[in-house]
């Protein structure tokens, strides 16, 4: 009888700029009834002090890994702590990592794809970024960290909405969307979002890639701004040639991966009845068949790139050359 693979422990990463409300959310997760026991990895013990939870203090140990083909940064401290936690995995059901307000989420995320031990025993569930509706625009203006934390988010908790007017809130949401068009945005005051909208989301499952559809056809999306991190989407109704696309997306990931924070996509390959999905965190790329195209479902291919100064024209040109009938292709880009 084949051995049953042990269940992977879900890991939620909580990010957010200084004062956004991360600790408030963390305290809610640790105090409310949800029948889950968390091991919590925090950078500063600070205000968190809750009974019956395993709380581990750590310092960021960032290592750059470069083997010639793939460069990435990983958090050595997380590998060590997770190895240790998994030796007593019966004591808790999930792991929560709270990063500092100035932390770069990239090394945290990449740790879960690089070390095979960590990857086999845990799975990154979602990156949750808490932002302060009142101060976000100012923070984005002067802090690259705030932009990168948004760029990596699967879920954005737009907190302190009671401190801004509806018009201001719309402006903040539009700015978030410009940086990250695929994250789910949850409005809150004092982080009062239902916890089931934050935990157990499976956001890194290939089965759930691009569940939140970005505004691909919104022409208003495209305008000049001073963001360090930006996003763009590429869409085509022409079928894609996998023989061209698969080497191309690997080349793009290799060439621009340092500045490509996240990429997600759904592809309609010629002669293939299944949707093919891809996702990347910097140079770490994976893709697979997801599910059959439904009867009547339009076979549209979509790629969303979030990154620093990515050359949209070059990437769009290459993408369109992956179409089966290149001559008749018209891009519907946003």
């Amino acid at each position: 009888m084949p051995l049953k693979a042990p269940q992977q422990m879900p890991v939620t990463v909580l990010t957010g700029y200084l004062g956004a409300g991360k600790t408030t959310l963390l305290n809610r997760i640790l105090t409310e009834q949800h029948r889950k026991r968390y091991a919590v990895i925090v950078n500063e013990f600070g205000e968190v002090g809750i009974d019956n939870y395993l709380i581990v203090d750590t310092d960021e140990e960032i290592f750059e890994m470069n083997n010639g083909c793939i460069c990435c940064t990983v958090r050595g401290d997380l590998i060590r702590i997770i190895e240790s936690l998994m030796r007593r995995r019966d004591s808790f059901d999930a792991i929560l990592i709270e990063t500092t307000g100035l932390a770069d989420p990239a090394p945290v995320a990449q740790t879960f794809f690089v070390d095979d031990d960590v990857r086999q025993k845990t799975k990154l569930d979602a990156i949750v970024t808490v932002v302060d509706a009142k101060h976000l625009l100012g923070e984005l203006y002067h802090a690259h960290e705030a932009q990168e934390q948004l760029a990596f988010a699967d879920i954005v908790i737009l907190n302190k909405t009671d401190l801004v007017t509806p018009t201001e809130l719309n402006a903040v949401e539009a700015r978030i969307r410009r940086i990250n068009p695929t994250a789910a945005i949850k409005y809150s005051t004092r982080c009062n979002v239902p916890l089931d909208e934050v935990l157990d989301r499976g956001a890194f499952d290939l089965n759930r890639v691009l569940e939140v559809e970005p505004d691909f056809l919104d022409a208003e999306h495209e305008h000049e701004h001073d963001d360090h991190v930006t996003s763009f989407s590429l869409v085509t109704e022409a079928l894609i040639d996998p023989g061209k696309f698969l080497p191309w997306i690997q080349m793009i990931t290799q060439k621009f991966g340092t500045d490509m924070l996240r990429m997600k996509g759904i592809l309609a390959f010629k002669g293939d009845d299944d949707r093919f999905v891809v996702q990347a965190v910097h140079m770490l790329l994976e893709g697979d068949h997801q599910r059959p195209w439904k009867a009547g479902e339009k076979r549209v291919s979509r790629l969303v790139f979030i990154g620093r100064n990515l050359p949209k024209g070059v990437i769009e040109d290459g993408f369109l050359k992956c179409c089966v009938d290149v001559a008749s292709v018209e891009a519907l880009s946003a």
């Binding site: 693979a5 470069n66 793939i70 060590r80 070390d115 095979d116 690997q250 390959f269």
Partner: protein, 86 residues
């Protein structure tokens, strides 16, 4: 063509014990303290000149540059003899 050869397929989850074993071998071979982190990953690279598959071991000493060991074999095929002695 419902099943193309997929070069982007997520890596399998078959060998947790082997990965742990490689970490133990590295620690013994190098005499590493508990504060040194060892990571093991299997990479597939299709660039010309790269091996099809390799195991990359990272030795992370606090405050120092990461040391990497590349073995041109899959994790399943790595043996203790493949590790250079420190």
């Amino acid at each position: 063509m419902n099943r193309l050869a997929n070069p982007l397929a997520p890596r399998g989850l078959a060998l947790p014990e082997k990965t742990s074993q490689i970490k133990v071998w590295v620690r013994e071979a190098r005499g590493l303290d508990g504060d040194v982190v060892v990571s093991v990953t299997e990479l597939v690279c299709r660039k010309d000149g790269c091996p099809d598959i390799e195991t990359v071991i990272g030795i992370m000493r606090p405050g120092k540059k990461i040391e990497t060991i590349r073995i041109h074999k899959s994790i399943a095929d790595v043996t203790s003899r493949d590790l250079p002695q420190g």
